[in-house]
Amino acid sequence: MDTQDLSIAEMGRALRAGSVTAVALAEDALGRVAARDPGLHAFLEVTRDRALADARAADADLAAGRDHGPFHGIPYALKDIYDTAGIRTTCHSRLRLDNVPTEDSVAAARLRAAGGVLLGKVATHEFALGGPSFDLPFPPARNPWNPEHVTGGSSSGSATAIAARMVRMAMGSDTGGSIRGPAAWCGLVGIKPTYGRVSRRGVFPLSWTLDHCGPLSRSVEDSAITLQVLAGHDPQDGASADMPVPDYRAGLEAGVQGLRIGVPRAFFATASAATPDVLAGVDRTIAQLRDAGATVEDVTLPDYALFAAAGRVIMMAEAFAIHQADMQSRLLDYGEITASRFVLGAAITAADYINALRARRELTDAVNAALGRYDALLTASGLGTAPRFDTPVDNRAASSPMQTIPFNVTGHPAMSVPVALAGDGLPIGVQVVGRPFDEATVFRIGRAVETLSGWESVPLPAFSG
């Protein structure tokens, strides 16, 4: 059986029908990693022994009638900022090369308890911020659609591993768009759940109040299955929300008939970096959703620049608080891009930070008001396709190619869904944003977009091994 294109649900059915074993799924995936990863650099560490042990345990449990649910026996990977007991967790940084946690992060523990099979730890931009870089202890992950192009960051290895069909799901983290950006640029689904929906405990922080944990995957259904495992209250995470977790797959196929969707068009339509392919992709999606019965209207939100300013100030101030001591003593051990971004936190005053938090309140209220009138918002994920590695790095805020940080500032759930290949053969995506804790509607609309766009019939990059 060729297992590389089986969805998580299909793998689960095959496992329960006895037509495949978890060990076979793991060995197939490990074989693809061995064949494909040398040119793509998704994995920092392949945990072969752990994977086979997990898989044998999954098979034994199923045989004994202990079914741990839809993630049972499914191979996956973790961004290398997720603590894994006994497995090195480096943050892709020289500063943490010797860090071997003694406990799993909550996300890793939940995936393990759900019967998942850990294949290994995957690349990230250094400390989930600085990259892509060639001055770090590991090379940057490359985009399987064209290895001369970046994946987007910071969940770079997660996106590479999925787009190269090594795994169906890999965990990412999203502080300004680090799940949704790589998902958009690599033709994947990436969801940033509501702030507080998934525990951050045991994941190295970039910015405590902007960090979100979530999956990248091949499909909306894969993401819904994974979030079902991850979501839930963690009393030891100060931001964790004690909210009910619905069945995320229950309404996936409900369509968009009768839903109201707002489009903050000024976000992307007035951005100088927006390409015709992206604008056409959003407009085509809007037309398809209308044809399917949704009401789609333009909506006005505060200026994008205000969201971006609040997000950057909060992120840099919090990140610098985390890294100040190491920056003072080991600045040259950071990659050049990482250091050049982290030092900006030293230039932010207390009043600047508090003004950004005042903006956060204003902006969250504005998005909530819009979502009082609409079931969801739809916007671009990024303004173009993935650039080449040799494109000069431009740190200026106005040149950001992503449209994701507003919903880190406000905490609303947001998901990137691929819709088309642009003229350069690289993917583009749209972003669906929901009400707080209403990931179910985000999945429902995302599934409709996935179906209506025809993305499921777009072939992913082919590999000989």
């Binding site: 100030v313 030293a346 230039a347 938090l357 309140r361 740190n395 805020a397």
Partner: protein
């Protein structure tokens, strides 16, 4: 090319902030960091003076009663 007065002031401000934070910036990285600082200052300007005293930050918190055993 010679620095303008504005660039000189910006560089002096940057150097002072880095010194206050206890950071030693390598000479070969300073120019890129200065560019980032100039860009950040434009964003900070968007937030400066925008709010009256009634606009509270998002991290204002509330307490709930303790369970006393």
């Amino acid at each position: 090319m010679a620095e303008t007065a504005g660039e000189t002031a910006l560089a002096a401000e940057f150097d002072a902030l880095m010194a206050r934070a206890g950071l030693t910036i390598p000479a070969d990285r300073r120019a890129a960091m200065l560019d980032g600082f100039a860009d950040l200052k434009q964003q900070l300007a968007l937030l400066h003076g925008r709010y009256a005293h009634t606009a509270e930050p998002a991290n204002v918190f509330r307490l709930t009663p303790l369970e006393v055993r």
